[in-house]
């Protein structure tokens, strides 16, 4: 079974909530966790993977290389490059290898043979290891500025599946792009985390439209529900409208930042806190789905 935690909007507390839920799930379930926020993975900070057991590169990716000695500077490649990653460099042209996605266009339009070739590139890696809490953890880590976070997430999930655990919990990135699509793909349940703001609901609404494409079941969690309580009826109306039961209301709690500063799930070090009480309730509700 796969549960994905997602939100559309960034910074609503996905990773803090996920880390605490994982802590609880790990005690009673055969579990593997995946950090699918490949651009900016942070979950490992709270789960403390001491030693990564393994690392695998995203292979099979390539970038174009222009041989400056043979390039005659006609610029056709730069004009046709769909990623706009070919720049003039003096009299010749140069590929920006960070942005190149390895399509064939430049080599097709280049009027000469042997000017453009391709070389292997590694836009990111997947690492895995055991957390402090005795469950396995897989982290997708894209190198800064590189493309194909979606491919990396697919690969991370595939690797996680090979551990043959009963339950996979995926922490998705912000947004609704290829990395999030890769995260929610194959999920049995998506936990949609929102804050009580119009901005958060707008982004969550866009995420739900993506979930509709996949026909994925979804439930809602409202983080910091008490900082804008006047808005809560709108939040409740939103979840009703997208056919999602709200499985938890999490209050604003300073302990969440304190736990992050200590690099631990809040539910472990502040078990009696308001945050932890709410997380335990969410866990009880989610158990019914597992």
């Amino acid at each position: 079974m796969q549960i994905t935690v997602s939100s559309g909007k960034g910074g609503v507390g996905k990773s803090s909530i996920t880390a605490s839920l994982l802590y609880l799930f790990g005690k009673e379930n055969d579990l593997i966790a995946v950090d699918a926020d490949a651009d900016t993975p942070n979950l490992d900070i709270l789960l403390n993977v001491k030693d990564w057991e393994g690392e695998e590169s995203l292979s099979g990716e390539r970038v174009a290389v222009i041989d400056g000695d043979r390039c005659n500077g006609c610029g056709l490649c730069a004009r046709h490059c769909p990623y706009e990653c070919i720049e003039r460099d003096g009299k010749v042209y140069r590929v920006n290898e960070v942005l190149c996605e390895g399509c064939n266009v430049c080599s097709i339009v280049c009027p000469h043979d042997f000017v453009i070739s391709f070389k292997e590139t590694i836009p990111g890696v997947i690492r895995w290891g055991k957390t402090d809490y005795d469950f396995e953890f897989v982290s997708a880590q894209l190198f800064p500025g590189r493309p194909n976070s979606g491919k990396l997430v697919f690969k991370a999930k595939k690797l996680a599946q090979s551990f043959n655990k009963d339950l996979m919990v995926v922490d998705a990135a912000a947004g609704i792009g290829c990395s999030v699509v890769a995260s929610v793909n194959g999920s049995d349940l998506v936990v949609v985390v929102v804050e009580p703001t119009e901005v958060s609901l707008s982004d969550a609404g866009r995420l739900v439209k993506v979930l509709d494409h996949f026909g994925v079941r979804r439930v809602g969690v409202v983080n910091k529900f008490d900082i804008n309580s006047d808005f809560m009826p709108v939040v409740e109306g939103f979840f009703k409208g997208v056919k999602a039961d709200i499985v938890g209301y999490v209050p604003y709690d300073k302990n969440v930042v304190n736990a992050m500063l200590q690099g631990k799930p809040a539910v472990e070090i502040f078990p009696e806190s308001l945050f932890s009480t709410a997380i335990k309730e969410i866990y009880e509700n989610l158990k019914n789905f597992v």
Binding site: G10, H80, P82, V98, C103, P144, G145, V181, V257
Partner: protein, 283 residues
Amino acid sequence: MIIAFSGGKGGTGKSTVSTNITVLLESFALVDLDVEAPDDHILLSTELVKVKDVNLFQPVFNHEACFACGRCVDACHDNAIISGRDGKPILIPELCGGCRGCKLVCPSREAIGEGKRLVGKIYENLTPYGFPLITGELLEGEKKTYKVLLETRKYALSRYSDLIFDTAAGAGNSIFKALENVDLVVTVTEPTPFGVRDLQKILEVTKQLERKTVVVINRSGTGNESIVENLCNKYGVKVVGRIPYSKNIIKGYFENEPIVTTSLPEAEIFKNLKDRILEEACR
């Protein structure tokens, strides 16, 4: 002049800071490049008005004129073209990235026609604060974030010369493209381990791009700021402002009212920040 707001981590206050700063600047256009989750129009109480579609090229195969040579299948890096039983191509639209490789290699003039797939929209409108807002939006279910960002950026550059870019969370290729050739990158971070790690990702990107970069610490006073400062020293970037954790700022955010339009003391913080940012951008 282009000033871009970025930060790596989601929810650090990029939109709050960039909308407030644009209101103060008065003469800049704001460009929402967070195309997967564009929110600036909400914070600025502005209805979106579409000015442009973002389309991807998609081949339309005309089998009558096709020689069944298979070159388009070989050229497609997305594996979006398969050979049918007669050796003629069939498109899997979901996989097609619209690079035009197939059309470029096709030896028959009529075998591949111009098709398109709508992947996003660009909006432009005047905000109640007197400056224009340009918004890029990726359609739900589409994956070509990069393409929508590219087109939105291009549209904005064709319309105005003084721009504020508000970017998405993350540090992938779309962010790289958003920050390319800007005069100044303002990274908004928070003093937490998550904030610091994601800030480092962005500082790596701006280092590769050789862009002048400064840092704003939002929710100042809630965590450990010395780790942010150490990182800034390591990359040789300045901290140009600290925005305290403030109930007034949060309230303004909830109510979609830019704090700089009020007489609250926090408005001063943003005014000073605007001056510092302009000073750095013009340096």
